[in-house]
Symmetry: C2
């Protein structure tokens, strides 16, 4: 089923509103979730409602948060999200970073006491749409990624997102987990009755698991690189870097030590980190954008191994999906329609999808 983009966002906002969220906060959440859905990042948009609904029921999400700036300078800020759903403080954080960066050329804003914020890319995107280079990182409440040589998970999929504005090409847009594959890919394989490639998931003895049902029982994902030989220590290092920026820097909690250090806490205290860089602090008007266009054009013109599969640039698949979905609506699988309908019914939200 194809759902018009505005209808999907309105449906999501309507559910959040019945939970008690302000209209403005509900709109921000729907906008950021929609930024994923419209670009084909199906794992981080409307599909997240199920988790948010469970976390809301468990009292982990504060729908009437008092989001405050705890510290601030002309180029930095620390925001306390007061256990809000992450999209609200993350949007405010990137808006603040953009405003500061427009004045100073550079800004960094960190967030603590937050929850899941959707796709990391949605915030990097905001900066690029404002003509800036944007970066967005988040830690995760539940460890699933094993360090190299380890039998236990010690990080979330700790993503890195980076967006930069072009001129002929709208932007360079990278949004990646620092694991080899995301949990969502195991679920997709399970739903389709397929195995997963060796190296995505391991058992506690470090052996590759290819049956997604087994791999999902206790999720142990490899860091990008998959094995020590193929560079998993690099993916592990990047995941740890994201943790330092998102947990240690704002004072959020490191999930593996959370229960021991903060016993009895129902909140996750997830952290995010945002960076904005103004190309005009370094280059004259248009120079950065033209040079970025030049690189993107060169990459598109790169001789491919197979003429049928041209070389892509980060952001290309998202652009293709967006063009299709703006015109034809967002494809929403029946299972997700069912989930959304159940959540809407339970929260007495109007059903707008029809």
């Amino acid at each position: 089923m194809r759902v018009p983009f505005d209808t999907l966002k309105a449906q999501i906002a309507a559910i959040f509103t019945t939970w008690g969220m302000s209209a403005e906060h509900a709109r921000l959440c729907a906008e950021r979730m929609g930024a994923a859905d419209i670009r084909g990042i199906d794992s981080h948009g409307a599909t997240m409602m199920q988790l948010y609904s469970e976390q809301f029921a468990a009292g982990q999400i504060n729908v009437k948060p008092n989001i405050r700036i705890l510290r601030e300078s002309p180029v930095t800020a620390l925001i306390d999200a007061d256990h809000s759903l992450g999209h609200v403080p993350a949007t405010q954080a990137m808006e603040l970073a953009i405003a500061k960066c427009k004045k100073t050329g550079l800004a960094a804003v960190a967030v603590k006491q937050s929850n899941h914020y959707g796709s990391a890319g949605a915030y990097a995107l905001m900066a690029a749409e404002a003509g800036l280079i944007g970066m967005s990182f988040t830690s995760v409440w539940h460890p699933v990624v094993v360090p190299t040589f380890a039998a236990e998970p010690m990080f979330g999929t700790n993503p890195i997102a980076f967006a930069a504005p072009g001129r002929k090409h709208p932007m360079f847009y990278l949004d990646m987990a620092t694991s080899t594959a995301a949990v969502g890919k195991l679920k997709v394989a399970l739903l389709n009755g397929k195995t997963v490639p060796e190296g995505w998931a391991l058992d506690a003895a470090g052996k590759p698991l290819t049956d997604p049902a087994v791999a999902l029982e206790k999720v142990l994902l490899t860091p990008l690189g998959a094995s020590r030989t193929m560079g998993s220590h690099k993916g592990y290092g990047l995941g740890a870097m994201v943790e330092v920026l998102c947990s240690m820097l704002p004072g959020a909690w490191y999930a593996p030590t959370r229960d021991a250090r903060h016993p009895g806490e129902i909140h996750n205290n997830i952290g995010h980190f945002f960076l904005a860089i103004d190309p005009h602090a370094f280059r004259d008007e248009g120079e950065f954008e033209d040079d970025l266009d030049d690189m993107i054009a060169a990459l598109h013109a790169t001789r491919p191994i197979d003429a049928k599969q041209p070389v892509l640039v980060a952001g290309d698949p998202e652009q293709t999906a967006m063009k299709d979905r703006l015109a034809n609506g967002v494809p929403v699988p029946d299972m997700l329609i069912g989930q959304l309908k159940a959540i809407a019914t339970q929260s007495k939200a109007p059903w707008l999808i029809g």
Copy 2:
């Protein structure tokens, strides 16, 4: 042969001095190269003298550069390296970023018209030693990494370095190429008569090469992830991100389009990008460092797959190497001794290694 650390640095500085470099610039280059050698990053210290010697002979390295700040704000700067060897402007850039960051909480400095700057980590390290989070990136003059689906190289090994200060643990220190393996690893395999793992290097048809001699004829390294299935689009995306920060942002040249856009130029115009973040802009004194120690301790305590191979943290191997090498000297293979001696003889530099 083990060479005392100070002797190795003095030897390197002596060669640079005979090339015409000022004593101060020669010292900076030797310090930054030494920062790699003392930590066991053997590919990026004294071994680089051979390349620098060739580039100096080809007129690509200006040993009497007029390094200038082209643009500056309280939190940003753009430096023109005037074709200097990269260690000099890169050190000055990170020193400037550190000084700005100590005042403002955050700073970014970009460099253009530069050359090879040694190990990316050497500059991130400077920030962490000053109590700051440091990041260091560089583009490379010669493309060797193929994008996903591509038959031609379009990036260098475009490294990412990140260092953050701890208290009980000296620091978290990540220094990684965004390729699966570095060119140096192919050379080491060749010298040792070994094959390389499938997935490090490809032929122009995208087939894995395991004979390092063949792989070194025309180097086509995979991005971190090695194949599309295992996430090479992520390593490719990270390499492109580094290129945007190091080439497009400062106005350096993108190597694959350099000859077409700047015909007849002998200079490479490599760019670097440095970022410094002051944890005290976000946390009270010691809080960040304690939380970082907590993460590092948790990682060290992670249950390993094999009790004989404990879980390591980025920076551990470098710490181990540094302890050994400070006490016992830097191991310098005979072949490298021969190269250094030839370069010293040719430049009429004194031979200090003995």
